[in-house]
Symmetry: C2
Subunit: 727 residues, 2 copies
């Protein structure tokens, strides 16, 4: 029974998925995606839905008495029923075929027959219990679906039927979710958005403005709560969602769906123009937070989630309908999946008509927090090529309970791949054998800890000592953000992650002919007047190829690197000594090489690691990394050049550029000004000058190898041909 | 200098690569590959070649005096010159533009000026030295290229110019490679093929039949050596190449290129019809030995090599030209890359015209050895879907010096991925930092050893005790090969891999409604009358999800599994006890689950491993595996069901079928007959009956749980609905 149920659930989810696609990952071959297959994308979605629904509608809907918690039979059945009824309603709207209206009408009547008898759910969650489901969040989702079904088919019902469905099902449920649960309904939180959206949609469906008003303005209609307040608070002005893109995606759906209904029913409210068009901004912001079709996996994130999810299929279609931005057609092409709405149909048709233009991926600073003043997610992209070099500096605030402790953490992508990666969440979503599909214990104990990220660790302790309450109170202080041809740069610092230590990081993406392509310069610093140990991990993706120092992995044994704060999950594979203050590590991924060349303090060790110690249940992925490790009495600085290079072509049997172009990296300071000098093996020099942050317009100078380099402004790149003349 | 040289070399290799492709891997989205981009495939190849050659032809060719061995400057320069001159000649043929003929003519004159002065190469290899290169194999490759250049442009030259090039370069070199090196020229070996093809092409280019006759029939023109003899010997009647597909690919090029010239110049020889069309057969055989575009990585193989290599681009175009088989257009579509020949242009045009039909991938037994009697490579495919379930049983002979010690080794593919994998060669091709790009020491010490494969190991010792000379003398004895709807099966045994132990393996791919899709049944047996230990490794690809027994990875340490025969490279991660003689291991890869459910002897341990012990230089990939390990005084049998199942969909957030459908696997014997019974959790039974191999047409019976099951013939599948009635 469970198996057939789950197959049913899957079938309906599939109705919204591209039938022609064998995998969930967006196409890796966008260039080759043909317009002819796109032409029929929506038609195929319709065809698949027809086939699935024809099978599912053979008998009446199963409506079991609520009993099980999430994952259980009654829970999954009602959940699947809600999605199925949504599809049935949409199919009636799109095709006009009576069978859909008849089935949906009867199903809603059946639900109306039993719903009034449902008390609080026997497996209720302590906070915000539901009736059909264990928590009222699921009840909101159900109502969001079936209120749209009712709206689609109500004209086919008799007055008596309408009366019964409206009174016993829709009003009954809407009342339960609004006046019956004011603490959720009035909460400025995504659960509140689901509730207000569901109740508001119900109001439009049954023609009761009271529900709509309450949804938009809170139960007392004062505007201190409700949907509009949520729009004002839950996204930053740049459309960043505090918990990061994984939860952003989830929160976006009720916003977009209900706002669309408001736009249609009350266009005078200009809901999509509110707060400078925040819902459109939030949609774009989410799109910008993807690489290769997958969302940046900061904080608790299932790494496979990306732009092909149902939420973003709806949002892209609706925003395209509003704006006509043909760049969104490129996103739809990458999604290659359509949903059962007229907007998605329009998207599919315009795509087939060849109207797509490239989506303008670009570097941007997405301010975090309601006012955009609590740090930022900084995205540096070398170009608008979605497969080009990209660096993400996580200068955001904590992101609540799902946040990870990686202030100023760094992610790097290139050539369609993760290069320096974030572990994401330790979780196998919905896989029962893996801790019931929930977050694994290793999520808190490893994945959230600082050492699991490309972020500076002090004294082998996580930021804020791993305390989320303290973390939530502090965000990094932002310095410059540069987005110019040839140089993108972000800089930030935080003094609250550790007592008595101020952490700073400047990440620049620069272009210079001295290199194979764009490179990243990473200046990670700690300022302190007391003795500390410092670990800067690089969780690289690929196979270790070369180092500029001797290194030998222990042939016969492994031991954990530590016993707490995530270190207990890392095997200590090897330790090595950099040469003359320079560490260079090169790895191979797919067809390219990547080198990290770092200027490090004299006593630095390079520790090579592999994830997997203290993992008796095989829960973690055995990913490699290396850590720049040192101790200091007065702070530290690591300057690294992260450099994609070369071409490994086993098909045509040649390899070029397997060696880094970088000969040395040096770091010079003059007061508060700094100068990073990169010398290449071919004798060229490139400099990055950083002026004092508190005097961005001033003139700065630093003594570099006996010559004074002077510049004006906070950040200046000295390209190779200009380097000498600047002296 | 080196860098610009290598860039030049790469540039010319690139002239034969698809300009529109960002990666070398064939398209993963064949369904979506648009005909419009295919339409211009060849045109783009031309455009890229034009651009590259325009740059390269700005100055005269650099012709350095021979000095360096392979990989060195003079070697790589001459090599690149050869490829470039080939491209220049082809471009003249294809475009008629004079500049190409002029450049090539001058370059050939320049070479003719210096070549007579080249003695034996100063860095000569001991066997078969060259003059321009350290070994004459490279000289053959060079001549193969430039003889075609000369043929293409000779009509633009004066008689004096022709005389000089023919005498001082072409004849000089052809003589050196034929009468000057009879031991290579007359050798029935792929080096001989390169030499005869080069000399034969020279004969056609300069109009001297003597060279052609020598090339075809050996120096004495008796036919005991030469190209035709090589055609008779180097491929099996099924077109299998003894060393496996990686070297097959390399050997194929001179065969195909010279044969094409013979066909054009001497059609009466019907060269492509010889030996039942062996060169066409060998081309098809190589295509069949790919999955997901990559060759089966048996023996020493760089795993990235596949159908997109230059050799197979030429072969597919030429065989298509000969046969008009539109199934080859599907291969061209997957190759998505074209070369500078009229045949490749035709391929591209016909593809663009929509003439492609699916390539008929199917199950097949490819006999090994000159007469096809030295074992076989057995390929089982569930369907003609190139991404469907496939199993490869390596029942071949040793495959000479590059052969691995894995008699009856098993590879499994599904959903576009390796599921049970072969490590391939331990080598980073052309990557200097990794042992100069040569085979790593770990290739002999790990990758060739039996334990590195999915093959039965006795007494922790490799087959033939790892002695290639002994291995080359023995091939498995083949039993049945079944290719029916619902059941594909292969069976083989060998008694020479170990003293006093006869190994047998039967691999069946069956379909039954009791399962999610096709499954594989693997019966691995050893017959012996003395005490031995037995290890059956499964090198699985994915993340361990579940087992039917308790297993705990050691949290704090790792130690190697052994100290020789490859075992020293495996970490012992965990040991566990199967439950009631049943071991079930489930892993996740991409979006599907895979379970191996094995009936094992009572004292069996399951040992979980990870590659990486004794690897101080980080040369090996940290891949996981598990080993069924037992001891016995009288042989052993392991019966495993290898079962793809379920759907992990994190995008739409559902997971179905994460648990194996198999409840139990049992093995019954009755005399020489055997019966494998699979019972599912839903109460169904499926049986595979194996009759005595020496009585394939007889009637057999086995007592199964107190009931006698009787059947006629060597192999019979009892599907679930038939199982009960058969009792």
């Amino acid at each position: 029974m469970i198996r057939s149920l789950l197959l049913t659930a899957a079938a309906f989810s599939l109705a919204a998925c591209a039938p022609q696609s064998a995998t969930d990952a967006p196409s890796k071959m966008t260039d080759n995606a043909s317009s002819s297959s796109q032409a029929t994308g929506f038609d195929q979605t319709i065809a698949v839905a027809e086939r699935k629904l024809d099978v599912a509608m053979r008998g009446p809907l199963t409506i079991p008495t609520p009993k099980d918690p999430g994952g259980g039979y009654t829970h999954e059945t009602h959940k699947a029923n809600g999605f199925m009824l949504y599809d049935v309603g949409q199919m009636y709207k799109l095709t006009g075929e009576k069978k859909y209206a008849e089935f949906a009408g009867q199903a809603l009547l059946d639900y109306a027959e039993v719903y009034p008898s449902y008390g609080i759910h026997p497996a209720k969650k302590e906070q915000s219990p539901g009736r059909m489901f264990w928590q009222n969040l699921n009840e909101s989702m159900f109502l969001l679906n079936i209120s749209q079904t009712y709206d689609a088919i109500k004209d086919t019902l008799s007055d008596t039927q309408k009366e019964k469905i409206e009174t016993d099902l829709l009003r009954n449920m809407a009342d339960f979710l609004s006046v019956g649960a004011p603490e959720t309904f009035n909460k400025v939180h995504n659960h509140g958005t689901w509730a207000t959206a569901a109740v508001g949609l119900t109001g439009y469906a049954i023609g009761d403005d009271e529900y709509v008003e309450q949804a938009l303005l809170g139960l007392d209609k004062s505007g201190t709560a409700g949907f509009i307040k949520q729009m004002d608070v839950l996204f930053s002005p740049d459309g960043y969602y505090n918990e990061g893109p994984y939860y952003h995606r989830f929160a976006l759906k009720p916003f977009i769906i209900f706002a669309q209904a408001v736009e249609k029913n009350n266009p005078e409210r200009k809901i999509f123009e509110k707060r400078d068009g925040i819902l459109k901004t939030a949609t774009y912001s989410l799109i910008h937070q993807n690489y290769g079709g997958l969302f940046f996996p900061i904080n608790d994130a299932i790494k496979e989630k990306g732009i092909r999810t149902d939420e973003l299929l709806n949002a892209v279609a609706i925003v395209y309908d509003l704006t006509g931005d043909t760049g969104l057609l490129s996103i739809a092409q990458e999604q290659n999946t359509f949903v059962l709405t007229p907007e998605s149909r329009k998207l599919s048709r315009d795509l087939a008509a060849g109207k797509a233009t490239p989506f303008e991926y670009r570097s941007m600073r997405l301010g975090d927090g309601q006012d955009g003043t609590e740090g930022a997610l900084d995205i540096l992209r070398a170009s608008n090529d979605p497969k080009g070099l990209a660096a993400i500096a996580k200068n955001t605030s904590q992101g609540l309970g799902h946040g990870h402790f990686d202030k100023m953490g760094l992610l790097v992508y290139d050539a369609g791949h993760e290069i320096l990666r974030d572990y994401g969440a330790a979780r196998f979503l919905n896989i029962e054998a893996k801790f019931g599909g929930h977050y694994l214990p290793e999520n808190n104990k490893y994945a959230k800890q600082t050492v699991a990220h490309n972020a500076l660790v002090v004294d082998e302790t996580s930021h804020f000592n791993g305390d989320v309450k303290i973390g939530n109170q502090h965000a990094p202080k932002l310095y410059g953000f540069v987005n110019e041809d040839g140089m993108k740069l972000t800089s930030a610092e935080i003094s609250t992650a550790y007592d008595g230590v101020r952490l700073g990081r400047t990440v620049a993406m620069i272009e210079d002919d001295a290199f194979y392509g764009p490179i990243i310069i990473d200046l990670t610093e700690a300022h302190s007047e007391s003795a500390h140990s410092y670990d800067l991990p690089f969780h690289y993706n690929g196979h270790l190829i070369d180092t500029n120092f001797e290194v030998q992995a222990d042939p016969l044994s492994r031991a954990p690197l530590g016993d707490k704060n995530g270190y207990q999950y890392l095997w200590n594979v090897a330790e090595a000594d950099p040469v003359d203050g320079l560490s260079q590590v090169t790895w191979l991924l797919d067809k390219k090489f990547y080198s990290v060349t770092s200027a490090v303090p004299a006593n630095t060790k390079v520790v090579f690691t592999q994830i997997g110690a203290n993992d008796p249940n095989f829960n973690l992925k055995p990913e490699p990394g290396f850590i720049l490790r040192t101790r200091s009495n007065d702070g530290v600085s690591f300057v690294s050049v992260i450099e994609p290079h070369g071409d490994y072509n086993p098909t045509a049997e040649y390899t070029i550029g397997s060696h880094s172009a970088v000969k040395s990296v040096s770091h010079f300071e003059g007061g508060a000004a700094e100068y990073i000098l990169i010398e290449t093996k071919e004798g060229q020099s490139v400099g990055l000058a950083l002026g004092a942050e508190d005097n961005p317009d001033g003139t700065h100078s630093v003594d570099v190898n006996g010559k004074t380099i002077t510049w004006k402004g906070a950040y200046k790149l000295f390209n190779s041909e200009k380097h000498l003349s600047a002296q």
